[in-house]
Symmetry: C2
Amino acid sequence: MAERSTPEKQARIDMQRAREQSEVDTALVRDFAYGGQARWEEHAHVVDLLSKDPTFDHRYRVYLTRKERFKESLKLAKRMHDLQDKHGWTDAQFRMAMENVGESSAYSMHYVAFEPVLRSQASDELLAEYGALIANRGLLGCYLQTELAHGTNVGGLETTATYVPESKEFVINSPTFTSRKWWIGAAGKLATHGVVSALLILPDGKNMGPHLFFVQLRSLDDHRTLPGITLGDIGPKVFGGFSTIDNGYAVFDHVRIPRYYMLSKFAQVTEDGHYRQPPHSKISYGGMLYIRSTMVTGGGWTAAKAATIAIRYATVRRQGSGTPQGLEEQIINYPAVYNRLLPVLSRAYVLLLLGRHLEKAFSAMNEGLARGDTSLLADMHATTSGLKVLVTTAVAQDIETARRALGGHGFSDFSGLGKIYANYIPTTTFEGDNYVLDLQVVRAAVKAYKRYASAPHSDPSTLPPTARYLRLLSEQSAADKATAGWTDPHTSVHLLEQRAAHMIREYAKHENDLDASAPQRVSRAATEAFVAVQVESFIQELPSQLPDKDAHILKDLLTLYLLVTVEGALADLLSFGVFPDCQQTLNGDPTGDLRRAIKRLELKLLPQAIGLTDAFGFTDWELGSALGVYNGAVYEALWDSAQTEPQNQTDVVDGYQEYIKPVLERGRRLAGRSGAKL
Amino acid sequence: MAERSTPEKQARIDMQRAREQSEVDTALVRDFAYGGQARWEEHAHVVDLLSKDPTFDHRYRVYLTRKERFKESLKLAKRMHDLQDKHGWTDAQFRMAMENVGESSAYSMHYVAFEPVLRSQASDELLAEYGALIANRGLLGCYLQTELAHGTNVGGLETTATYVPESKEFVINSPTFTSRKWWIGAAGKLATHGVVSALLILPDGKNMGPHLFFVQLRSLDDHRTLPGITLGDIGPKVFGGFSTIDNGYAVFDHVRIPRYYMLSKFAQVTEDGHYRQPPHSKISYGGMLYIRSTMVTGGGWTAAKAATIAIRYATVRRQGSGTPQGLEEQIINYPAVYNRLLPVLSRAYVLLLLGRHLEKAFSAMNEGLARGDTSLLADMHATTSGLKVLVTTAVAQDIETARRALGGHGFSDFSGLGKIYANYIPTTTFEGDNYVLDLQVVRAAVKAYKRYASAPHSDPSTLPPTARYLRLLSEQSAADKATAGWTDPHTSVHLLEQRAAHMIREYAKHENDLDASAPQRVSRAATEAFVAVQVESFIQELPSQLPDKDAHILKDLLTLYLLVTVEGALADLLSFGVFPDCQQTLNGDPTGDLRRAIKRLELKLLPQAIGLTDAFGFTDWELGSALGVYNGAVYEALWDSAQTEPQNQTDVVDGYQEYIKPVLERGRRLAGRSGAKL
């Protein structure tokens, strides 16, 4: 056997070779992924600055209790304000820095939820008094909606805001045990003020449903909880997620606030206690829709991190029987590994592009709303609901897929993927539980179907973008069954649109005897069809955005996304008979061609994988993973990380004298060897 | 609107009503689930005793650092030894108590891995010296196999044990950076001794591959690491899993051990350095197979916990539009909820029965092995490999499915399901990575297929149990396509066997151009067919084991397992044309019947769900979940749990003065409100 490199040296060599063989122009693709060179440079500048500041060294956080970690996160936020002053950052730059610091912050509740809702819905009077304080964080806010017994269903909230015309005040109250606000980020320990969602009760006792009220929670002198209010932290979260967020509870015992503290830009209570209707009840959805849409880009960057860590480790980890060179195989070359990881990589790029597309759609909708045009709102609501479900479900799974692809070492916290999963996973149940949102997606699709089906000669171009696939139900389009093979993205797009159209029709037909998972399957089919159409347009735009070579690589990557989506849709496609060669059964498996096409595409993409992950531009500090280090020195990184473990500061463990020694002595006694030299 | 009960009172009422409406005889079904009344009573007795002992109060553990938790777990183990002495527990009773204490212990490495391997493979000389000490835990052991650069592939281990005939010793050495033992439970801090897997090097330099050696690691006088050895903890695990296990590293610098420390029951090195072959090389697999088989029962109890917590919470949680009684709907009544949770419940029962079935098969195999009969070993290897993959993948997913079905509150650590997931998830990557084991399952199946296909007139009864479905490939059986409808379990079993048979044949046909996920799909199909056959036999045995009413309920539950398995296999069944009415496409979705049959069965089972979870016999102490409390008082339990949060011991948070106050003051200054009364 020839002299072999040791595994830890070979790992660096493997990483270097992978970089050399990649044809990706990482700088160009990186600018493309970030949406322009300027955005990338701004990002890189901030990351460079933060990563060199010892305040943001995250290596030791895992050893702290949650209480200690919360204090650390307060220190971090304080430092970030100092940096804002020092460097003269705009508010947007401050937020961007907070987003890239690798730890969620209770401060984010102020500028993500509290501030936007006040800006868009508070009266001029309220903003005149508090606007500047809010903008400069001279008070710190939170948004109090969810209660102990109510989450998604805001109609079931129990907190009341009763108007008292005599004093021109609202009385905020928690009338039942279960009406206490719960899960409220920053309400436990940080926030001094909050926007409270409460049932508006008029003097005649009439319940006008949930409305928003500005309420002070803590003293600005000493941070103590104000009289009549009870605040606290609701305790730790699963997997150690959101440990630096003080998700809290708040109980109100007849707390009085002035009339103008009601957020009254769209609905008001007059001095004498009469209600004035808002001009358009849905106008306040804009904020929620925006939060959901940012989840697309956020999911993209999260999938990008998972893909980068896992693909880098799989490139340098060798395992299994030897190659002709006497080395074991790089695990990325095993079908079971690349077939799990390359789809994660493709989803990351798809979501980054889709997020940018949504940004533009949002601008258009907001320009419309500013003119009082609400025509784009309903479709945007369906789009963002469907995407929220599809993206968060898929990305959560991607992180675990990537982590498990790391094998045993993936269970080490130093893999970095555990933290990412822990902080990502609540997206599947918050901001609208995914299973509840599915119903909204299907409702919109069925509505579009019924309108279209009842007027069969109507123009397909009148279909809303989310339901454009329904045009395929008209006879002319149904004839269009020819496929150009799996390398043509349109083959997949057409199938996914057909699937969505058939499933919606079937759903509408059986609406009175649905099976139990129908809404989930139909919502998924509808949203996947919508995304597929966007992906096809992204592919068409590539040649104008990147040099040929990189455009081709990204075309392959986006096509992989489409093929894998079709593979996941096989049961639907086969059951509706729209899969190519579906009737050729018993001659063998008609899905084999698709699956082998996926494999061929993956093998074609494999040499580009490291280049495509490098193009995300993550630094080792951003990834926080011993297995995802840039230089491939994963074994040294694991070893160095283990040396930070507090248990390794002493040889003999704390507890030996009290708890281990007596057990060993007992055993020797029972074995009749008490005095023996051993 | 009529006077309504408050949500927290209604929750208790809902739970009580659910118990009243259930027809399950929980005592009888419980005895059945535990495998007899005696086993249940023994379990209940131990749980009662432990739950009353303050040492085993787990409510405050989440607030400790990992170092503190490890010390707590040492205290717990010490207490358990005291209880063993006090109550005169047998070793089996001691282990049972350790298994039910709700926290993994580094001590388990001693009796799960170290002790069994020594008992079965050490020489008589070694056992004479150490047997009694090992049995009484007068020394504490661990099993050192995995290394920094090698996991599943034991052939790639780098640690060496070189025989030196001059001194009749082996020299244990870690020759490279990556040869350090890694992930070794109990090696970090607890164990005094270990069984080390190392490449045996003979005096002539010949490498005989991995063999096992007994090595002392720490002094029995003061617990300090012995000279030439470096030990340490490898650091925290993802999601806080296994925080009480000191997974560690060990580095050996030419450590000398006597010749008889080699575990030499099956392979020996003579005094002058010659190797003696083991009589049967696979005989040592027994232990690993046993560990894998216990994962079936273990998975069953884990799924049972997840199902109990989620079904109880879903029974008392109300959400959504009001019912005619003015109450919101219990979420268990939503199809998206029961369709997620009842399959978890059914899997729990299937795995408990399957585990018991495996126990018997193991006894038969071991009796055979004792006689030198290894005929059952190969099939048992394929069976346990396939089941390990199927069970751990499914149960890990079940826990997350159950947790997400809890909605927002599922993200609270008090849900209890986060801890369960964190400690369960490594099963998917350890004891053989699931994706690697798939290859072994498929290899066995293809071998059976080729043997069967090359002798087409051979007797199907010669097929190994894991591949009996292959009989359907013979012409006579293929004609048997009639189905008796979805209520007959045999319909599902037949389809799942046909699917396995077709997929194996297709796999063998394309062996040189496989798609990338073929091994995973085929392994799954083969194992699901095997399990389906067992489930059918469990159903047939029910009437002799339970009264009619309970037998019928369990028949429905096990049938649900089969139907849901068929639903998951739809893409395969449709692509091979074996799904009933598969040719009737374009007339609508042929899978609708199956899916509606699932829904009908679920609706039938829904009133029994609480009874079926009660029959698992879990106490609140065992579940450790505020959302799974027996009496349904989930809101009080969440509130009480939150009061244990250390952050709630003070009103003003630690860090206010240093980090929050300056930020608020800065904001007031910037807003021009520094002196203002606010």
